[in-house]
Symmetry: D2
Subunit: 290 residues, 4 copies
C-alpha cells in the first residue's frame, strides 16, 4: 500500500542559541569535517529576542559514526555556542511512536488511521485511548490496541490510567484528537513538548467549549482549526499550524461543524507530521516551523 520508497536514513539536528557571528560556519564546518552530507538546511534569526535557530538534515551514511557519537560530538559544538539544552539530534531510522487520545467523534482518528494505512504517514500508532468505547472497532480493524478508560465521576483515577498507558509506549507524540477533556496540569508538564491538541477554532478566537456555536453567534465568514502544543493554559499553547474554510449565512451550526472537520483533519495531520519530523522549534509561546 506504500507508494513511496523508504527514504534513506537521516539524522536531524535542531538547534537554538543566542545569535552571533559564525554560528552557521561553526555547525556546517563541524559537519563538513566529518564528511556530513547536508540534504536539508534551514535557518532563522528572531530579531526581537536575538535568538538563532537551525535545522540540519544529514545523510546517516555520510558520517563515519553512529547517532550516539554524533550527539556526543555535536554536544561539544552546542555547548561552545551556549545552546544549553536547546538542541536535539533525532534519527529517522527510529520509527516514531504516537499515542492518540479520543472521545466519541472519530473524524480526526479516521483521518490519521487512513494516512498510516495508506503509507503516507510513516509512524507507529502504538495505542488509541478513549473515554468512550465507540471508536474501538475501527481502531482494532487497523490492528491497533484500543483502551477504553471510563472518566465519568472518576476523572482523577482515569487520568492516572491514561498516564500509565501512555508511559508504556514512551511515545514521540501524544495527540489529543478531539479528546474533549482538559488535561491536568501535571500531565501537561510531564508530556511537555510532545502533546498536541487540535482545537476547532482559529485561535485565539473562540477558546474553550463549543467554538462552532460561538463562531455562528458572532457571524464570522470563515471557521478555522488550530494545532498547538498543550500547556496548562487552556488553548493558549504554542501554535504549530492553523487553517480556515469559508462559511456563509446559509450554513447552520451543523454545516459549520462539518466544514470545520475537514480543516481540523488536515491541520492536525500537518502539525503532527512536522512535529515528528523535528520541524517545530518552540521559542517562548511561538513556534519556528522549518
Amino acid at each position: 500500500m506504500r507508494d513511496v520508497s523508504a527514504p534513506e536514513r537521516r539524522y536531524v539536528i535542531t538547534f537554538g542559541c543566542p545569535d552571533r557571528t559564525g554560528i552557521i560556519a561553526r555547525i556546517s564546518g563541524f559537519l563538513a569535517e566529518h564528511g556530513g552530507w547536508i540534504v536539508e538546511a534551514a535557518y532563522h534569526t528572531d530579531p526581537d529576542t536575538g535568538w538563532f535557530f537551525t535545522r540540519q538534515v544529514v545523510r546517516a551514511d555520510s558520517l563515519p559514526f553512529e547517532v550516539d557519537v554524533l550527539r556526543e560530538k555535536f554536544g561539544v559544538v552546542a555547548e561552545s555556542l551556549s545552546a544549553e539544552s536547546n538542541w536535539q539530534v533525532s534519527d529517522t531510522g527510529e520509527r516514531k511512536r504516537v499515542v492518540i487520545l479520543v472521545s466519541k467523534e472519530g473524524h480526526c482518528l479516521y483521518d490519521l488511521l487512513g494516512r498510516v494505512a495508506a503509507g503516507e504517514l510513516d509512524v507507529e500508532i502504538s495505542a488509541v485511548i478513549a473515554n468512550h468505547p465507540d471508536l474501538g472497532d475501527i481502531t482494532r480493524a487497523h490492528g491497533i490496541p484500543f483502551h477504553h478508560v471510563a472518566f465519568a465521576e472518576r476523572k482523577a483515577e482515569a487520568f492516572d490510567e491514561v498516564r500509565k498507558l501512555v508511559a508504556e509506549h514512551d511515545p514521540h507524540a501524544v495527540v489529543l484528537a478531539r479528546f474533549m477533556q482538559i488535561l491536568p496540569a501535571d500531565l501537561c508538564a510531564d508530556w511537555s513538548g510532545r502533546v498536541l491538541n487540535i482545537h476547532h477554532s482559529f485561535l485565539p478566537s473562540f477558546i474553550g467549549a463549543r467554538p462552532y456555536h460561538q463562531a455562528y453567534a458572532r457571524g464570522v465568514k470563515l471557521v478555522g482549526a488550530t494545532c498547538h502544543y498543550v500547556t496548562a493554559d487552556l488553548d493558549a499553547g504554542p501554535i504549530i499550524e492553523q487553517d480556515v474554510i469559508r462559511v456563509d449565512h446559509g450554513d447552520s451550526i451543523a454545516d459549520m461543524v462539518r466544514k470545520g472537520r475537514d480543516i481540523e483533519k488536515v491541520t492536525l495531520a500537518r502539525g503532527l507530521r512536522w512535529h515528528l519530523e523535528s520541524r517545530v522549534l518552540v521559542h517562548g509561546n511561538r513556534t519556528v516551523v522549518f
Copy 2:
C-alpha cells in the same frame, strides 16, 4: 457516532428551461397552492444561453401528497414551461446508494469510509469494486462488500463484470476514487450523469497520466484536484468542484503527491455530497452548483 439529528424528510426539485418572465411565480405558485413549505431555493439565469435553472427544497410533510403525486403534478408545470426532461424530483427519505471503484491507492476510499462511519456523509456505500485486492480488508472492516475484479489481460470482460456488479445496486452515484482505468465509452453512456471521477490536477492542466509529474516538470506553484462527471472525452467532462494547495521548490514529486491527496479527498467528498443532494445541474459542458 452521529452528531447531527436526521433532518426531516424533504423533496428536492431541480429544474431547467428556456428563460422567460414568470417562471419563479409559476413554480412557487404551484407549491404554495398545495401548502408547500420551501426551506431552500436557488435560481440562476445563464445570460449566454438564455436558460433558467432552479433548485427548490420543500418539506415533505407540508404537502398533502406523496412524492409520486408531486412528480406527476409538477410534470404538468414543467411541460407548460417547456422544460422537457430537464427536471427531477428527489426524495431525501430515500437513502442514497453509492458504488466506489478503486485501484490500489486508498486515500480517497479511506476518506469516504471515514465520513460515512462518522455519520457525516449519510449514504449507503453499497459496494467497493477494485482491480486489485489491497483495499479489501479495510472495506470489509466497515461492513461493506468488496469485489476484486482482475483486469490484467482481460479488460473487456472485467468491465462487463463491473457493469453487472454496479447494476445490481442501481446506485445514485458511481465514484471513480482513483480507479486508474479509463472507462469504455458505453459505460460512460450507461452511467451518464451519475459517474464522478477525481482527477489529480487542476483541469484542464495536466490531463491524462501522471499529472503530478507533469506539474513538477512545469514548475507550478500550486497543485490541484478536479471532481467531474465522466464522459467519453478523457478528463473533459463537466467540472463539479476544484481546489488547489500550495507547493514550492522544496517539494519533490512525492511531496506533491502527498499534499495533493488532501485536496483530492476534500474535492471528491464535496463533489459527491453535492451530486447526492441534487445540487449539481449540468448544462452543456458546465455545471450549475446550487
Copy 3:
C-alpha cells in the same frame, strides 16, 4: 478605461419577514403580474430565528412603471407579509455615492481609487476626509475633493465637521478606510447600516489597537482582515466579509503588516461592492450576503 459595457438598469428588492408558506409565491407572483423579468433571485431562511430573506433583481424595462411606483406597490405586498421596515428597493440607475474617511495609511484608499479609475467599481467617490493631509495629492489627482480635518485636541469639533461634510453628500456608504479614530456613538447611530470599517484582524481575534502586534505575540500562522458595519461596540458590528493570508516565523511585524494589507484591500473592496449592490441584509448581529 472601462472594459465592461454598462449593465442595463435594474431594480433590486431586498426583503425580510417572519417565515411562513407562500412568501416566494406572493413576491414572484406580484412581479409576474406586472411582467417583471427577474434576472437574479436569492432566498434564505434562518431556522434559528424563523426569519425569511430574499433579494430579487428585476430588469427596469420589464416593468410598466417607475421605481417610485414599484416601491409603493411593493410596500403593500411587504405589509401583507409583516415585513414592517425590513425591505428596500434600490435602483441601479442611480449612481452610488461613497465618502471615504482616512488617516495617513493610504493602501486602502489607493486601492479604491484604482478600482474606480479602472472602471471596475462603478461608484462616485464624493469626497475623501482625512485627519492628516498626507493623502491629499493623490486624491485630488483622481479629481476627487479632499478635506483635511485636524483632530488633535479638538476631537468633538472635528467629528462635527466630518458629520457636516458627510451630510452634504448623503452617501450610500461611509467607508472607514483605516481611519484609526473611534466613531462617537451618535455618528454610529446616524450612519447606521451604511458605515463600513476595515479592521486589520480576523475578528473576533485581536480587537482594538495594533492587531498585527497582538497577532505576532500570539504566534498565529494566518493574519486576516474583517469588513464590518460599525456599531457603538468597538469592532463588534455585523461582519460582511473576512479573509486571511498565511504568515510564518520568518515574518516580522512589518512583514505581517505588509501581507495583511493585501487582505485588507480586497476584503474592504468586496464588502463595499456587496453593500452598494444591496447584497447585504443585517439580521441581529449577523449578515446575510446574497
Copy 4:
C-alpha cells in the same frame, strides 16, 4: 507616507553549483572569516539534477570591505565550487529600478503605483511605457515619466523605441503589467532573467489570448494568475508565483475578469518583490524562490 523604517544595508548572495559535501561550510566559513553577520540564509538541494542553491543575506556593516571587494573575494569561493556564472551579489543599498510596460488596462499599474506611494514597495519606477495614452495622467500624477509609443502598423519600430527607452534606465526589472503585446525573441533574449509577465490564468491552463473566456467555456471553478519570466516561448517561461480565486456558475466572464484582477495584482506584486530581493533563482524552466 512610509510606515517602516529603512532596513540597514545588506548584501545578498545568490548561488548555485553542483551538489557535494561541504558547500555550506565553505560559504559560511568564508563569511565568518571576514566577520560577516548572516541575517537570512536559505538552502535547497534539487535531488533530480543534483544541484545545490543558496541565498545568504549579510549585514553590510559587518564586513570590512565594500560590495565590489566582496564580489571579487566571493568569486574565488564560487569558482572553487564550480559555480561558473551561477552566482551574484546584490546590494540593498542600491535602490532597484523598474520599467513598467502597459496597454490600456490599468489595474496592475494602479496597484504597483499605490504600493510604491504607500512606501510598501521600495523601488524607483523609472518609467512607464504604453502602447496607448490612457494611463498617462495617473502615472504622471505619481511623478513618473510616461512614454506613449504607438504600435499600430509599426510594431517593429515601436519595439525598437521601447528597447531604447528601457535601455536608458538599465532597470533591474522590466514588468509587462498586462502589456498585451508579444515580445520579439531578441528582446526576450536581451532582457533575459529580468523581464516579468503577469498572465491572467493559472498556467499551463489557458495559454494565449482571452484566458478568462477560455476558463468560462471550460467551466472551471477557480481562476488564477501566473507571474513568470518571459522567454521566447509564449507563456511558457519559468513560473515565479501563482494564485487562484474561486468563481461559480453565477459569475459571467466580466465577473471572472473582475475577480481575476485581484489575483493578478497580488501575484505580480509578490513576484516582482521576490525578483527585486534576489529571492528567485532560475534552474532550467523551474524556479527556486527563497
